[in-house]
Symmetry: C2
Subunit: 286 residues, 2 copies
């Protein structure tokens, strides 16, 4: 018997498409329904084998699913989860793939309490650290999660059996799972992902376009993620505003120290600051 | 007949080794002498075929050369060029591979005038935009310059025949050559190379080491060049101090605008700033 019977994926872009493809290729599911607003994306996903069927009607698509994965942009996740929750019973686990968590969990909990859903919503957040500046189901890749980290973020009322189900989902796709609270997730991601995006964007924007042809590998690496989708990223940054601002200040402090060392021609201090940075960087591979 | 008879390379690391290897593999030179202070590096270079002979004695090594390429760290280039100039006659062209230019040219010119060298030094600067966080002759690569840009920086007294010789050198190794003055070079490189290094270092240093395992491709790309050699980079940054400080301010302005948009929850403004960055970044490939 396969681990999952019917999985519904809401939002079949790069991430949603890759999840569907990986589940089907690894023979972990009987049926994957793709749910989206763009007929063209759904057709592409179906043609590439990322879903077995597709619909633009969310309640229809999620009906009878044992797992729903919401892979829409951050600002839409909470409302999509609530819409799913209204359509399915408590036999269905819901997760997402969003880059922030606290805002989403808060919004879902307050909607659940406003709607008077007795048992709350059976939602546990996920965040696969497998983003890309690429988009769309045409870039879906069944190996996208292999050796990547997926953060699973249980909230106060999450059942341990649901955490276990999510662990099995992601490890089944080849990923390592790390568990933490939604707020710890957001605090860490501000430093490891969101502020790097802001910095890469500032660097790209500060480069006059006529100089771009004189850039080399260094500039190109440093600015690569600035090619990401501006609409998705404004949602992420605003959803994690407080942590992003705090983490930006940490960055600005380090930048200020480096700047002062250059300004004051402090050779030794400058070299030490650069060495400290190198040691942190060298802790991961190239 | 080969374009060059004897080429001497002072400093046989990644760049010097790659030049020797490329010249010999492409059959552009009869003899390449490697000159350095580290016997081990020289032996590696010779074993890998990057030089045909090697010596730690600079005057001996450059004797009879028709081209000398100084590939030592930025802070040593000017004095090495002057030492070469003392040892060779005006039949020998001298160039370098340094990441800054104004300081070096200024120092060479003042040494030449102090020494009373009548015709000055036959030096024209080069900067191959082909750096790497890798080092040493063991990483030398005969294809390192293919499709890369090399900036050649004639000074006031440079002869057009010497520029032509350098153009042929670098295009012979597969590179595209762009010509500009030393000061224009330094101004541009501050933006396209030196400030990205400072920013990458600040980002790496601002990341607590226990979070490094939770980084993904974005952080890793953005900080990759922070793995570069701290001693080489403090030299580069201090040699180009004024331009680096000016260019850092441009970066800080952009960062400040992004920060304000996040702080004030200005969704539209934030998205526009990110879009502007994306457009600049998209002008080069991934």
């Amino acid at each position: 018997m396969k681990p999952w019977n019917k999985v519904a994926i809401v939002g079949v872009g790069l991430i949603g498409g890759s999840i569907g493809l990986a589940l089907l290729r690894r023979n972990l599911v009987r049926e994957v329904v793709g749910i989206g607003r763009s007929e063209a994306n759904l057709e592409t996903a179906q043609r590439l084998g990322a879903v077995t069927s597709a619909t633009t009607q969310l309640p229809l698509g999620v009906s009878g699913a044992d797992l729903v994965i919401v892979c829409t942009p951050v600002a839409r996740i909470a409302q999509d989860v609530c819409q799913v929750a209204q359509a399915v019973g408590s036999e269905c686990l819901i997760t997402d793939a969003g880059s922030t968590k606290s805002d989403i969990v808060r919004e879902i909990e307050s909607a659940a309490s406003a709607a008077g859903w007795k048992s709350g919503v059976r939602f546990v957040g996920s965040h696969p650290l497998a983003g890309s500046e690429k988009r769309g189901p045409e870039n879906a890749n069944a190996e996208l999660f292999v050796n990547r980290t997926v953060i699973v973020t249980p909230a106060g009322n999450t059942k341990s059996t649901d955490i276990e189900l999510l662990r099995n989902l992601w490890t089944g796709l080849g990923a390592k799972v790390v568990e933490m609270s939604p707020s710890q997730h957001d605090e860490i991601m501000a430093t490891t992902s969101h502020v790097p995006h802001v910095v890469a964007a500032a660097m790209a924007a500060a480069t006059p376009s006529e100089l771009v042809r004189l850039t080399a590998g260094g500039w190109q690496d440093t600015t690569r993620i600035a090619g990401g989708d501006p609409d998705l990223w404004q949602q992420i940054l605003l959803s994690n505003r407080d942590n992003v601002l705090r983490s930006l200040e940490q960055f600005e402090q380090r930048l200020g120290s480096l700047k002062q060392a250059v300004k004051n021609r402090q050779q030794q201090a400058l070299q030490e600051l650069l060495m400290e940075a190198k040691q942190t960087r060298d802790a991961v591979g190239s």
